[in-house]
């Protein structure tokens, strides 16, 4: 791993916002696993048993990160590492010491894609850890366990094209607030598109996590359902990756 990527990862591990977010997520998982599954609340919310706990609980919790919340959180971290770095003048430092824009962009991409995967891993560990304390070994029962794990893995993959898109957006939008605002508007637009024209929505990577985690929740996915999504992720990831690198000289690093 090159020195710029190592430095970026080192900085990432010092970001309080990451720990704050994970802390909130732990709180949410404990709240759902403890409070909502109590007998009194079970009757009150009159919810499906699958939603409320046991074997299906880890998959239920995935919906809280896989789409909008995860996208907005990643938009915030991406903007922090690109827009804020540009504003403070940090983005140009490697350039003043002989490194190219391509090297800096490449390090940002590696770090943020690594981070998006690490976040899913951390969330998997949190959800399974708390579920294990609450329900014991039953949460590892097959085939639901494998089904859930494959969905976690698919969500991790879905974040790669999203993250690369956010990097591209952050390099063109000058301020953090613009990146967050544009991501928010994009998510609303996508929800509307998905509701009105699902076929058109299926052309975009965001469609697949919605489909797998929300529309097909608690259902096993078949290969023909997974394959178009993976193809879509690969296409968009490659597109954004090459778009960022080929436009590297035109991307403004200056504040």
């Amino acid at each position: 791993m090159d020195i710029i990527t190592r430095m970026e990862i080192k900085r990432l591990l010092q970001q309080k916002i990451v720990y704050f977010f994970l802390g909130l997520f732990i709180f949410a998982v404990i709240a759902y696993s403890g409070l909502l599954t109590s007998l009194a609340l079970r009757n009150l919310v009159n919810a499906d048993e699958k939603v409320l706990g046991g074997l299906y609980f880890p998959e239920f919790m995935l919906r809280f990160y896989s789409t909008n919340i995860g996208a907005l959180f990643m938009a915030m971290v991406t903007a922090l590492f690109i827009c804020e770095d540009r504003q403070t003048g940090l983005l140009i430092q490697p350039l003043l010491h002989g490194r190219t824009k391509k090297e800096v962009l490449s390090a940002k991409m590696k770090m943020l894609c690594f981070f998006s995967t690490m976040m899913i891993t951390a969330i998997t560990i949190i959800v399974y850890g708390i579920s294990f304390l609450r329900w014991g070994t039953q949460i590892f029962s097959t085939p639901v366990f494998y089904q859930t794990m494959s969905k976690y893995a698919l969500v991790a993959l879905s974040f790669i094209p999203l993250e690369l898109f956010l990097i591209l957006l952050a390099f063109h939008a000058r301020h953090t607030i613009m990146v967050l605002g544009e991501t928010f508007l994009l998510l609303i637009f996508f929800v509307l598109l998905n509701q009105s024209f699902p076929k058109a929505a299926s052309l975009f990577p965001l469609y697949y996590p919605y489909q797998w985690i929300i529309n097909q929740e608690f259902q096993a996915l078949t290969w023909p359902e997974i394959f178009p999504g993976l193809l879509n992720f690969f296409f968009y990831s490659s597109l954004f990756y090459f778009l960022i690198l080929t436009r590297s000289n035109k991307i403004n690093f200056d504040r």
Binding site: I3, I4, M7, R11, Q14, T88, G89, L90, I92, Q93, P94, L95, L96, H97, G98, R99, N249, F253, D254, R255
Partner: protein, 303 residues
């Protein structure tokens, strides 16, 4: 011996608007060049083109004989720079920040980092995160960072910002000694005109993207006549009288205070005419021209 930096016809346009136009200058090794100009004169844009942070529209930049366009990596290896407000990784210490930059260059020892920290007077602050540094301390650390790879040319944008008078004096001493002893060439942009006059061997004054004057500081200051400062009792009448004479240039006017220069006219004759004009003179003094006067004359005051 070729110059440290040679700039020919350097131009930067944003759409059709020229920010820097046809700038041409060169600097000898071991010189200290002050780049001066009012806000928006193109100083920072010029410095950013010299460090390849922004692309030039036209022109050539040769650093120690190497073209910045054709051999950017090798040319920039000879340049150390600190531009804009100094930026650091705030959650790291000074040493950690310098270690990172040192690693970007390759084989730079920890001993070298310690020496630089000591050189800029931050030895007692090494365990503190940069977040808790004052602007002056960050400026000093930025200088250490710019010097980390022993560059032949150091470019500093407003290096005295945030420094107290003692800090400024130390910084200028350091720059002078490095230029004299190690033949390091400095390019400094600053608004501290009196300091620049003392520090810089050369000056380049820019306005609206164009070079108004470039040369040795001392030669430029002494090439023109002395200035006369006057305090007169009637500003309107005084201005009319001063303007009516072709041999008098009004350099500056502040209410009743005038700074003028007389051309092709002896001081005695001027004095006789002044008395004959009936204007009441409260104060009159002759002073040597300073860099600030030259600057004001050329740029017609701050924007």
């Amino acid at each position: 011996m070729h110059p440290a930096i040679r700039v020919r016809n350097l131009t930067k346009k944003y759409r059709d608007k020229s920010v820097v136009s046809a700038l041409t200058f060169e600097i000898e090794q071991g010189s200290i060049l002050g780049v001066l100009g009012p806000n928006g004169a193109g100083k920072t844009t010029t410095l950013k083109m010299l460090t390849n942070l922004i692309n030039k529209t036209d022109g050539d930049i040769l650093i120690d004989g190497l073209s910045l366009t054709e051999q950017p990596k090798q040319a920039l290896q000879m340049v150390g720079a600190s531009l804009d407000t100094p930026a650091f990784y705030n959650d790291f210490t000074a040493i950690e920040n310098l270690r990172y930059i040192a690693d970007l260059h390759g084989s730079i020892s920890n001993q070298k980092i310690d020496q630089l920290i000591e050189l800029v007077g931050l030895s007692s602050e090494t365990t503190k995160k940069v977040r808790y540094y004052s602007l002056g301390m960050k400026q000093r650390l930025a200088l250490a960072r710019a010097l980390i790879h022993d560059p032949k040319i150091v470019i500093l944008d407003e290096p005295a910002n945030g420094l107290d008078p003692q800090g400024m004096r130390k910084l200028y001493q350091l720059i002078r000694s490095m230029a004299a002893e190690k033949q390091v060439t400095f390019i400094i942009s600053s608004h501290q005109l009196s300091d620049m006059e003392q520090l810089c061997t050369d000056v380049l004054i820019l306005n609206k993207g164009k070079a108004l004057i470039h040369g040795k500081t001392k030669e430029l200051i002494h090439s023109n006549n002395e200035l006369i400062t006057l305090t007169l009792d009637d500003a309107e009448k005084a201005a009319t009288w001063l303007q009516s004479s072709m041999q008098i240039d009004i350099i500056e006017q502040d209410k009743l205070d005038f700074t003028i220069r007389i051309n092709d006219l002896s001081f005695n004759v001027f004095l006789k005419r002044l008395v004959a004009s009936g204007l009441i003179v409260h104060r009159l003094s002759i002073r040597e021209k300073r860099l600030e006067d030259l600057f004001v004359e050329l740029t017609e005051g701050w924007d």
